[in-house]
Amino acid sequence: MRPLQLFDLAFRQNEWLAQRQSVISQNVANANTPGYKAKDVESFEDAMRKSVPMAVTNPDHLSPSGNGVVEARENDPYQAEVLVSGNDVSLEQEFINSYDVMRSYSMNAQILKTFNNMLLTATKG
């Protein structure tokens, strides 16, 4: 078993969830901005796959910005209709996403806590 890998994974997911939350809040803040299109982050699986660092053969090489990728929401079955102002933010959808983030975040924290307790039991005896 690789305990550290689990901590790393949990950390990465927390980072991704926080990023998602920031995209949600910018959507909510721009809910009345003309021409604003709702955004979402790419799925955690995709972000994980991309986060494996590329080989750097020259110190001047730029590294791709892994976690910050923000893409427009496409092919969303619940997509709100686009208003005359060109804005397609749906507050309902944003809050559903937000609760999703909340749920995963606390589950993550709970798993970390349990795992930490296991480690403590092992070390303290």
Binding site: Q21, S22, Q26, N30, N32, G35, K39, L91, K113
Partner: protein, 139 residues
């Protein structure tokens, strides 16, 4: 990369600010709903409109919202027959402000809905942060 949770707070706060600016414009319009001119034939209060724009905040790496411009509504004024008014022209007609109460109320309702949505986001972010802090508190 800056802390995404702090960035969320920043963007939600910008939303709160923008919506309260909108609320201010609505209340100006409602307060001046029957402000006529002072001299005969003068133009009355002209309704104000507000529009927002999305701006990239370079420090926090997040899109915040800010007030784009506050302009005047160019809808023509309606005239009313009020010969006793100081603003009445030679026919006794007074130009009334182009403020429509229903539009203002709908606008106010939408502003308050968006404001609540932003406060909800702030609550959520606080809860996320305290979940992490609670990890350190126990065990």
């Amino acid at each position: 990369m800056s802390d995404p949770l702090l960035a969320s707070l920043k963007s939600a706060a910008s939303g709160l600010f923008a919506q309260s600016a909108r609320m201010r414009v609505v209340s100006e319009n409602i307060a001046n709903a029957s402000t006529t001119g002072k001299t005969p034939g003068a133009d009355p209060y002209q309704r104000k409109t507000i529009s927002f724009e999305s701006v990239m905040d370079e420090n926090a790496d997040v899109d915040v919202v800010q007030v784009d411009q506050i302009s005047r509504d160019k809808t023509p004024f309606e005239s009313q027959y009020m010969p006793g008014s100081a603003a009445a022209d030679s026919n006794g007609m007074v130009k009334m402000p182009n403020v429509n109460m229903l539009v203002e109320l709908a606008d106010m309702r939408e502003a308050s809905r968006s404001y609540t949505a932003n406060t909800q986001v702030i609550k959520q972010v606080r809860e996320l942060a305290s979940t992490t802090i609670d990890l350190m508190r126990t065990s």
